[in-house]
């Protein structure tokens, strides 16, 4: 690890904006956020993966991965970060290092040539260059190559120094944020700006969720100048320093960006979420208030309240028909744990029973909220091993599992409904409409007759196979 990278990582582990860090003692903090991985019992993506997740949604840039094939070859084209225009970000570009490149130390040369090639062919406004484990190990100086290329090729080339072996996805997110802070944000001026410009940090427009939110802002006369990085153009991010307020979605991701933007450009930030009706309203209120403090029209909070009232009413009305169908249904909520209380609250509002919610990555604040909501911590669970979760589901401890893709097949093989709330899902669940969509999907999943069918015992599992033969109308003996 280069010294620069080492310093970055240490700095991130001390990130004062991080709620988790704040709760830790000095010594604990120095250990850093990432738990050391257990060989043979690890799961999850690496820092490179996290960095790519955070930056690739910049739609008009080329994202070039410097490393041997697997890093990009096995991983490209795998998410639904949507674009309203450019498609360049969907290219899977890699230096695809060969044995020769590595043995002969040709990595830097190859990288420079690769940058040159993609600029010549695609003429992007910028190239993000991701370092990976092998060039980090062999000591390729990606920062220097990028600096050289930026100058020679008159195109910003941003080094993203987050090789996989330095840690997990979350660290990668933050290292991506550092790259933005070091090389991108503040390097251009916006074409236009308004007194109500805001940035949203850590929202990636998965399945178009940003587009569920933007109309709300537009209705309030708030302009999202840059979403970092969902459906972003390079220039928007580069000129994000002129916005009045930063909203940080999902605290663990880009907290460093929010805090340092405040430090450098005096942009206040707050943390909020667009998952759940209550959270969406809270976020709108917070932004309105902060913008007024930064010079926006004084009627903004009042208009926000009016919109909130209207939208909440509309959402609850849309949800109402499902309530009777969903009431009493038992949910096992198995997310990363971040902000899961906002979903808990929403599920409870429609009468569902949350039988368990994972708090693996929850902050103490999160946990307290869950305790308040659920009347104690009885239902807070940490990691559940797949075999145990399968057993719980198979014996009917829950009617549905809400989780990311990793546990999808635990639920399905246990013949229990599963709703995808991970990054690869195709449904958008943000804002008021997103909550309605979530409820509709819950109902769609729970009411699917396929569950009764797949739980039916096979004829050879029944004591009385003949039972299968007395079941009209499927078997109608004649005469």
């Amino acid at each position: 690890m280069s010294d620069a990278l080492k310093a970055k990582v240490t700095e991130l582990f001390n990130e004062p904006g991080c709620e988790k860090n704040l709760a830790k003692g000095e010594k604990e903090r120095r250990k850093g956020c990432s738990k050391p991985l257990t060989p043979g019992a690890a799961a999850g993506g690496c820092a490179f993966d996290g960095a790519k997740i955070a930056l690739q949604p910049i739609t008009d840039a080329v994202h070039l991965v410097h490393g041997p094939l697997a890093c990009e070859g096995n991983g490209w084209d795998n998410r639904h970060a949507a674009s309203s225009g450019p498609k360049l970000y969907r290219l899977g570009a890699t230096t695809d290092l060969s044995q020769m490149d590595i043995v002969m130390g040709l990595g830097e040369k190859r990288l420079y040539k690769a940058i040159k090639d993609v600029i010549a062919r695609y003429a992007p406004p910028a190239v993000f260059v991701y370092s990976t484990c092998v060039p980090a190990l062999t000591g390729d100086d990606v920062v220097a190559v990028c600096a050289h290329a930026s100058q020679k090729l008159a195109t910003p080339c941003i080094p993203v120094n987050a090789p996989g072996f330095v840690g997990g996805k979350n660290l990668g997110n933050k290292l991506a944020g550092e790259a933005l802070l070091d090389y991108v944000i503040g390097t251009m001026e916006p074409e236009i700006s308004t007194p109500t410009d805001i940035n949203i940090l850590g929202e990636y427009n998965l399945s178009g969720e940003l587009w569920q939110i933007l109309p709300l802002f537009r209705a309030l006369g708030i302009r999202v100048h840059a979403c970092v990085t969902g459906d972003a153009r390079y220039r928007e991010v580069a000129s994000a320093h002129r916005s009045r307020v930063n909203m940080m979605v999902c605290s663990t991701s880009l907290i460093n960006v929010a805090r340092k933007m405040e430090e450098r450009w005096g942009i206040p930030y707050f943390e909020g979420s667009f998952y759940g009706i209550e959270d969406t309203s809270a976020a709108l209120r917070a932004i309105a208030g902060m913008l007024v403090a930064r010079g926006a029209p004084a009627d903004l909070p009042a208009r926000a309240e009016a919109l909130i009232a209207e939208e909440e009413a509309r959402a609850w009305e849309a949800i109402a028909p499902y309530r009777a169908r969903l009431e009493g249904k038992r949910v096992l909520l198995y997310t990363g744990g971040v902000k899961s209380w906002s979903i808990v609250s929403a599920l409870q509002e429609i009468g569902m029973v949350v039988v368990g919610t994972s708090v693996r990555k929850s902050t103490d604040n999160d946990k307290q909220k869950i305790k308040d909501l659920m009347g104690g911590d009885a239902h807070m669970v940490d990691a559940i091993p797949p075999r145990e979760m399968y057993a719980q589901l198979r014996r009917g401890d829950a009617d549905i599992l809400l989780s990311g893709g990793r546990t999808q097949f635990v639920a399905l093989k246990a013949r229990v409904p599963w709703l995808d709330i991970n990054q690869e899902r195709h449904q958008a669940y943000a804002g008021y409409d997103g909550m309605v969509a979530l409820v509709r999907e819950l109902d769609r999943s729970l009411s699917n007759p396929v569950w009764a069918d797949v739980r039916r015992p096979a004829p050879w599992e029944e004591d009385d196979a003949d039972a299968f033969l007395d079941d009209a109308p499927f078997l109608t003996p004649l005469s």
Partner: protein, 465 residues
């Protein structure tokens, strides 16, 4: 329970039905060494022949009594006799299946009686099994013709039970017109795997499975053999598929005394569980491992596939039994049947189709129903539905008869654990193929925007960093 709607229309526009005699012809084509013969004008045969060739991509032996106007007015028996003799001389069929048409039925003679006299008169015809079914075009559709032909064969070929009949491990199968050769082949394999011997009437799996023989043959090659059909009384059980096979099944039951089980559909997990239980009981054997594995694969397909069915809006038009089976399949996977059109009303289970209403009508009724329902995600009907699908701008899944613009139809299996599994994949992949990248327009509700005061900056200038 679905309401049955019969629109009062004078014109059928874009018919869903294929004709009743054509249904009979298809059944006759499932007999070995057969030639179906339409008793009517040459056009009746020509249209049916062309359509059947387009569906199966095979030479089809289908003949006509070539009634011209004079014959129609003066009496048809002469043409019938001449046709039989000519067929016998030219093609040497072992079986001739006659289907009447609207033309000769409107004239209203006693064709069955005529046939009896002809057979008495013509010793040349003695070695050919000749069967007659009354199938006027103006009543019913494909299913009715198919069932009438099967009944006619049972009536004239099957030897009634007598004390001399020794039953052995035989199972009779009366498939419906909606089973493909691949379905029949799968069913035969299944029955055999229990150590039972299937006698299938009709059996398209030998004659219309699309194969290249070593020699030219003017009749069908492969199919049910009459020697075996004659011995259907020897079976321990008869399995019939589809409500339209109830009458032939009843008839076979009464002739032979063999107990009958009718499966309204053999698509779907539950129906096949019941089939396995039945075969297991009949044979006294356990369900073979292969089928246990297939069931488990079907479960997996249901689990992986249900995501793509949930909430989908399906419009189906088909003959009643196919309509029933497919509707139940789609609904069972979580889709909604927003439009269901049956070709005929001669079916007792139309009202158990999982839809608000079932229209007895044509493809125009289907289109209208889709519009009335506020759209659909998928159209499910035969190839003629392509024009409707184009107009509606939704994909068409081709099922039933005719499918003239795709290959391999005979090899598409939709029954059994495996057939159901493949059907799930087919539908899910159709929907997956329609999936698109999200765009801002996907999100409907947009409150009106509030004006923002804009400050214009230098274009693309670099900030002081």
């Amino acid at each position: 329970m679905a309401t049955i709607v019969k629109p009062r229309k004078a014109a059928s526009v874009n018919p869903l039905k294929s004709s009743t005699p054509l249904g009979a012809a298809l059944a006759y084509l499932g007999i070995d060494g057969a030639v179906p013969l339409f008793h009517g004008s040459q056009g009746c045969t020509s249209f049916a022949l062309v359509l059947t060739v387009r569906h199966y991509k095979e030479a089809i032996p289908l003949q006509t009594t070539a009634m011209d106007e004079v014959a129609t007015i003066l009496g048809a028996a002469g043409n019938l006799e001449e046709a039989l003799l000519n067929l016998q001389r030219r093609m040497k069929p072992r079986f001739i299946g006659i289907a009447s048409t609207a033309l000769v039925e409107t004239r209203g003679e006693d064709y069955a009686g005529d046939l009896k006299l002809i057979l008495q008169r013509q010793p040349e015809l003695a070695d050919t099994r000749i069967v007659f079914a009354s199938t006027p075009d103006y009543a019913g559709a494909l299913e009715d013709g198919w069932a009438a032909a099967v009944s006619a064969i049972i009536e004239s070929v099957v030897a009634p039970w007598s004390p001399t009949v020794t039953s052995f491990q035989q199972v009779n199968v009366l498939p419906g017109v909606h089973q493909t050769p691949a379905d029949i082949e799968a069913l035969r394999d299944l029955i055999e795997s229990f150590g039972l011997y299937p006698v299938i009437l009709p059996d398209l799996s030998g004659s219309l499975d699309g194969h290249v023989a070593e020699n030219w043959c003017p009749t069908t090659q492969g199919g049910a053999r009459m020697e075996e059909v004659a011995q259907m009384a020897r079976a321990v059980h008869t399995i019939a598929i589809g409500e339209h096979m109830r009458a032939p099944a009843d008839l076979l039951g009464s002739v032979t005394g063999v107990p009958v089980t009718l499966f309204p559909t053999l698509t779907g997990l539950a129906a096949n569980d019941r089939l396995m239980a039945l075969l297991s009981r009949l044979s006294g054997r356990a369900v073979p491992g292969r089928y246990r594995r297939q069931r488990s694969q079907l479960l997996d397909a249901m689990l992986d596939g249900h995501f793509h069915f949930g909430g989908k809006r399906i419009a189906i038009a088909a003959d009643p039994d196919l309509l029933y089976g497919l509707s139940a399949f789609f609904a069972g996977m979580g889709a909604r049947i927003v439009a269901a059109v049956a070709s005929t009303s001669n079916a007792p289970n139309l009202d158990s189709i999982p839809a608000d209403s079932v229209i007895v009508g044509d493809l125009t009724d289907l289109e209208d129903a889709v519009h009335a329902a506020g759209g659909a995600d998928l159209l499910v009907t035969h190839s003629h539905g392509r024009q409707s699908a184009d107009r509606l701008g939704i994909p068409l899944m081709r099922v039933g008869f005719p499918i003239f613009d795709r290959l391999g139809t005979a090899h598409a299996q939709t029954i059994g654990y495996r057939g159901t599994r493949d059907l799930i994949f087919r539908v899910a992949n159709l929907f997956l193929g329609q999936m698109h990248e999200h765009t801002p327009d996907d999100f409907g509700h947009v409150p009106s925007a509030h004006t923002i005061e804009e400050i214009v900056h230098d274009s693309a200038s670099l900030a002081a960093h």
